[in-house]
């Protein structure tokens, strides 16, 4: 997964180095610009068992700022925002690996350094009794939940 490039960023930005699942490290640039979640849309993606993206829908491409070619084959952590505590993602993976649904409010980082909040549900795709992949479906969260999570995640950093 490539580091961020200053020329892709819109507006003033800060930088951070993220330690990601699987020993990956990534330099990211992020701004204070929020992109509102589009009304009526679902953002849908599927990953393989290791968290590498195998399918994205149009809304995913539009909101992430990446092209479909850039997304397919990348780890899902391509959207990881430095404000998200790693404990949230550990809980996500622990939950879905048990074959259960995980749901939470997530702050995602776009390619241009802006962010967007989602209410995410991740489910294991079970075929013939075995987990073969994971599907993540995001919808628009309420501002109340976003405000609660902003405070919570800051306390978990």
């Amino acid at each position: 997964m490539l580091d961020f490039k200053p020329e892709d960023i819109v507006g003033d930005y800060k930088e951070a180095v993220l330690d990601l699942y699987g020993g990956l490290r990534r330099l990211v640039f992020y701004t204070e610009i929020e992109i509102p979640y589009p009304d009526g849309k679902l953002i849908v993606s599927t990953t393989d068992k290791n968290g590498f993206i195998t399918h994205v829908n149009k809304a995913f491409v539009e909101m992430s700022g990446y092209s479909e070619d850039e997304l397919i084959g990348s780890p899902h952590s391509i959207l990881r925002h430095p404000d998200m505590p790693s404990v949230a993602f550990k809980d996500l993976w622990d939950t879905v690996n048990r074959g259960e649904h995980w749901q939470g409010i997530v702050k995602n980082l776009r390619k241009d350094g802006a962010y967007y909040w989602v209410k995410a549900t991740v489910i294991p795709n079970i075929r013939q009794g075995k987990i073969v992949s994971y599907t993540s479906v995001r919808r628009k969260p309420s501002r109340t939940k976003v405000e609660e999570c902003t405070k919570l995640y800051a306390s978990l950093k």
């Binding site: 489910i123 599907t135 479906v137 628009k140 109340t144």
Partner: protein, 248 residues
Amino acid sequence: MTFQFTVSPDFSPDHISGWYIFNTWLQKQTGQGIHLEMYNNFQTQRVAIENDAVDLIYANPFDAAMLVRNKGFSPLVKPFGVSDEAIIVVNADSQILDVADFGPGTKIASTDDPDVLLMGMIMLEPADLNAQNSVKIGCDSYILVAKQLLQGNSDVGIFLAEAYDNLSNMVKSRLKVLVRSEISVIHHCLMIGPKLSPRKQEIQDLLVGMDMTDKGREVLKSLGFSGWVKVGEEETEFMIDLMDALSV
């Protein structure tokens, strides 16, 4: 032996005769006795499915999981270019301009159409509305949902997009759309049960080729469709997973 065919009770009233015409066409093409039973609501239809009294069904996506996983159904076809979308609507005079402006106690008019209700409630989540903190006003048809809004009995209505679009211009002029879903991958599907499954391939081929003949196109027109498209097992599994994720 006569097989049993049924249609999701949320079918458009304009197309009820179309389903009987379609059933006659299907019987002629397959040489097989097929009885079309139309149920008035989802509850009675689900009882029939549970009692194995259904062999072929034009199914609501909400019921796909139960049909595939509990009853051994498999997908045949879906209508070309048709997906289920929901719309959130208020009275044109309502002060509400954004879904987030609704508060607890909001009165929501809807039918019992399960996938549309699910999509509609998801679109109301930005206001933190859910089944526990809102008042549901159940209606037998989308016309009655519109009536509840026009009479001021409900604050918001959830419509199947197609049903809303088919309301008269006069009614629509007195209503205001807040949100229209753009989900695209939730759709009704014609599904075949275990007793008919030995003929699955033959029936699927007949349906996919239906728009190749004048008679077939005429029957399709009576259903409001332009053709059928084959649906694979994995596509249905994906839709089931999606519905599953949305139900959480």
